[in-house]
């Protein structure tokens, strides 16, 4: 009974933190577009924070730069369990246009923190981001939460 209630709560209220680890801000603009009335992110129970301690989902954008090497791990450590990481756009996956010869980007993000989902595109369309977060986040959060509860018992 309690487990089911926890599942429902975890599924219906997803708190998101946007982490831009050194990108061009294109993906961040698309994420901000999700807050607009046309897409209206909050009607799906998704809330955007800029505090990792309150977040369930980390939306990582940008190719990882030198300064973000340690900070990314710190932010991931600060996020409470259960947590998932979604890589938004191409930069966190491959470095995209920044991964030139002699460049100083440390992409992919999966070298530093475990990534649960990736959305391709440069930038992805807001509807694609919404679709990906909604398909992955509730299920993954509930499953991880159950596993965590099982470990405690």
């Amino acid at each position: 009974m309690l487990k089911k209630l926890k599942d429902i709560v975890r599924k219906s209220s997803i708190h998101v933190c946007i982490v831009n680890c050194g990108g061009c801000n294109g993906c961040d603009v698309e994420l901000v577009a999700l807050l607009s009335p046309r897409y209206d992110l909050e009607q799906y129970g998704i809330y955007v924070h800029n505090n990792p301690r309150e977040a369930d989902v980390l939306l990582v954008t940008g190719a990882v730069t030198e300064q973000w090497r340690d900070n990314l791990r710190r932010i991931y450590a600060k996020t409470p369990e259960p947590k998932i990481v979604v890589a938004v756009g191409n930069c966190p996956q491959s470095g995209d246009v920044f991964a030139q010869e002699g460049g100083r980007v440390l992409a992919p993000v999966s070298d530093f923190i475990p990534v649960d989902a990736a959305i391709p595109g440069c930038p992805p369309r807001p509807s694609e981001i919404l679709e990906a977060v909604l398909t992955v986040a509730p299920g993954a959060l509930a499953a991880k939460g159950r596993a965590q509860d099982a470990r405690k018992d």
Binding site: R38, D40, N90, S94, D96, C122
Partner: protein, 344 residues
């Protein structure tokens, strides 16, 4: 107090309650716009393995040329592979791909070439330098500054032109600024041929009336536009293009007609050596002058030579107009040439 009532009113509104319990995004947020370039689509069989797509790609890991393993029958295919997690959907690879048909397709190709408009349009705007009076009204009307002055001539810069058609509206000289249709050139040719042939056939059938016509009289006639228009539509099914091509062709068309009144001919044979193409000859067996219509240039030299008025020469002009019943008709006016009278 009033603000409290206002709050209650706001919260009690049905739309608000509906939105609160049953919120939905509109369906169209998931629709991609028509001109949205998605990830390139690869058609393996067309690839020639030139590598221009990899050279043009701005993202280092996005596109790679790979080769299938060889088997007994043939060597392996070479083809590009798109890595979706690095592709930025710029479409450069599809634009540079030189194979025909293209190996890479990426939405609408824009082709960064001068002769193609960046914005897809049926028309291409050009200045007719012969008719242009250099008033530069089109330069003022153009909102993107696509009309430039080069060596005292006005030229439309095709890479800037957005095909809005404002230059065409402001141009005071008919025909100096032209929006020509760049597609379906073969069909346009067929339509023009059809129009000229139909009108020529019609006017040739009126020869008997023309012979009676006095030198200072006009022969006026009307021909229905609809049948020609309908027949043209079967060649090219685009009313806008067909109508403009037909209107242009009809309004510019001038047909010269030679009539031959054989009864008055005195067989003096003066016209025979004058004819530049040898269309006129003397048939000694039947004792008649024979005119080969196929060879005739309609240059009017025989008409100017003939002393007995056997040959007559007419000029037919056409104009597309609407009549009183709002039907489109072709006005035909035929006038006898007065060259012979002037000479005398």
């Amino acid at each position: 107090m009033s603000s409290l009532i206002w709050y209650i009113y706001e919260f009690a509104r049905k739309t608000w309650i509906d939105g609160f319990f049953d919120a939905k995004s509109k369906e169209d947020i998931a629709h991609k716009p028509d001109r949205f370039r998605d990830f390139p689509n690869v058609i393996k069989e067309n690839c020639i393995g030139c590598g221009s797509c990899t050279a043009s790609c701005p993202s280092p890991n996005a596109i790679k040329l790979v080769r299938d393993s060889d088997n007994e029958e043939s060597t392996g295919l070479i083809f590009p592979v798109i890595n979706k997690s690095a592709c930025i959907r710029c479409g450069f690879c599809a634009e540079v791909c030189p194979s025909t048909p293209k190996t890479l397709e990426c939405g609408e190709n824009h082709f960064i070439r001068e002769e193609f408009n960046i914005i897809p349009s049926k028309r291409k705007y050009i200045v007719d330098d012969y008719l242009c009076i250099r008033c530069k009204k089109c330069m003022d009307a153009c909102e993107v500054g696509a009309i430039e002055e080069i060596d005292d001539r006005l030229v439309v810069n095709q890479s800037k032109c957005i095909s809005c058609g404002k230059c065409l509206e402001t141009c005071p000289v008919k025909g100096a600024m032209r929006g020509v249709f760049v597609n379906n050139l073969e069909e346009q040719k067929k339509i023009i041929n059809l129009t000229v042939n139909t009108l020529e056939k019609y006017i040739e059938s009126k020869q008997d009336d023309l012979i009676q016509l006095g030198t200072d009289k006009l022969f006026l006639d009307e021909l229905k536009f609809k049948p020609i228009f309908d027949e043209s539509l079967t060649i090219l099914n685009d009313e806008e293009v067909v109508h403009e091509v037909l209107e242009d062709a009809i309004n510019r068309l001038k047909i010269r007609i030679i009539t031959w009144d054989g009864d008055n001919c005195k067989k003096c044979q003066m016209c025979i050596p004058d004819c530049p193409t040898g269309a006129i000859s003397f048939d000694s067996d039947n004792d008649t002058i024979v005119r080969d219509k196929e060879k005739c240039l309609r240059c009017s030299i025989c008409y100017q030579t003939c002393p007995f008025g056997v040959i007559k020469y007419f000029l037919a002009k056409f104009n597309l107009d609407t009549n009183d019943n709002d039907e489109e008709v072709i006005h035909i006016s035929v006038k006898a040439s007065q060259l012979a009278e002037r000479r005398a």
